[in-house]
């Protein structure tokens, strides 16, 4: 009797299953670990600080650029010239808490001026965003 060699089953070149496992793992990691934030057009380097008040509420954010100009939503104002615009912006958005996202190299004068206007507009709580030092 003639015996034929059993045809060895051809394995796929590389099995895809481990790849899919890893990709799924990465996907779930990014889903869980990341936070999605709306993108901002302004490039701001936050000042570094040690104190964290863990204020988790998401108040209205006002950005102070490196050159001292203030972003109220989509418009840019110079706080030295148009304090009333800041007051106006606060009134229309009905905010009682405001977070200031200021560049580390922004003039302190701009930030302080902005804070003065915020107080005049009736804002109760002002927080400044910093990033952990080190």
């Amino acid at each position: 009797m003639i015996e034929f060699d059993e045809p060895t089953p051809r394995r796929p070149f590389e099995t895809m299953v481990p790849l899919i496992n890893v990709v799924f793992l990465l996907l779930i990691f990014f889903l869980l670990a990341g936070t999605m934030q709306p993108g901002e057009d302004v490039d701001v380097t936050l000042p570094s600080g040690q104190v964290d008040d863990r204020d988790t509420q998401q108040p209205l954010t006002i950005i102070v650029e490196k050159d001292g100009f203030v972003w109220l939503g989509k418009s840019v104002v110079d706080p030295a010239l148009s304090g009333y615009r800041i007051g106006d912006y606060i009134k229309t958005s009905n905010a009682v808490a405001v977070a200031i996202k200021s560049d580390a190299q922004a003039p302190a004068e701009s930030v302080l001026r902005l804070m003065e206007e915020l107080r005049k507009a009736g804002v109760k709580q002002v927080t400044i965003l910093t990033e952990p030092a080190g």
Binding site: M16, I20, A33, T35, P47, G49, A99, A108
Partner: protein, 135 residues
């Protein structure tokens, strides 16, 4: 002639699934941010220096326009600011720390001063901006 053996097809093809999963992966990689920011609650500043109290219970931090700092008139640096301020405040409980920012001083210095004032044990912290500090 023998018939070709019919190949058993997979139940479903994995390729479209992998395509979609890769798309999702790239989307989440690009849109997520891991930047953690912290918050620092601050007292809103006085309108001018004249509204701040001025007596023996006040310790002033001067933020000069050239980037240097002074605590109670003595020059200090960002590294030693906290210790110098603690020394100036001492053990008294009724001290007010006043931060005066000259034109030209930076936000980073202001943050450092506010944090140092918070850690010094002072009863209250005030801030104001001034055009020019007398040297």
């Amino acid at each position: 002639m023998f018939e070709e053996p019919i190949r058993k097809r997979n139940l479903f093809s994995l390729t479209p699934l992998i395509d979609v999963v890769f798309q999702l992966l790239i989307f989440f990689m690009l849109t997520t941010s891991f930047l953690q920011s912290q918050t620092l609650t601050v007292v809103t500043p006085a309108e001018s220096k004249t509204q701040l109290p001025e007596d023996s219970r006040v310790v002033e931090i001067w933020l000069m326009g050239n980037g240097s700092m002074k605590v109670a008139g003595k020059p200090t640096s960002p590294e030693t600011l906290s210790d110098d301020l603690k020394q100036a405040v001492g053990t008294r409980k009724d001290i007010t720390v006043t931060i005066l920012a000259e034109n030209g001083s930076k936000t980073q210095a202001l943050i450092q001063a506010i944090e140092a004032a918070r850690g010094s044990g002072a009863a209250s912290v005030g801030t104001a901006r001034v055009e020019k500090l007398e040297r």
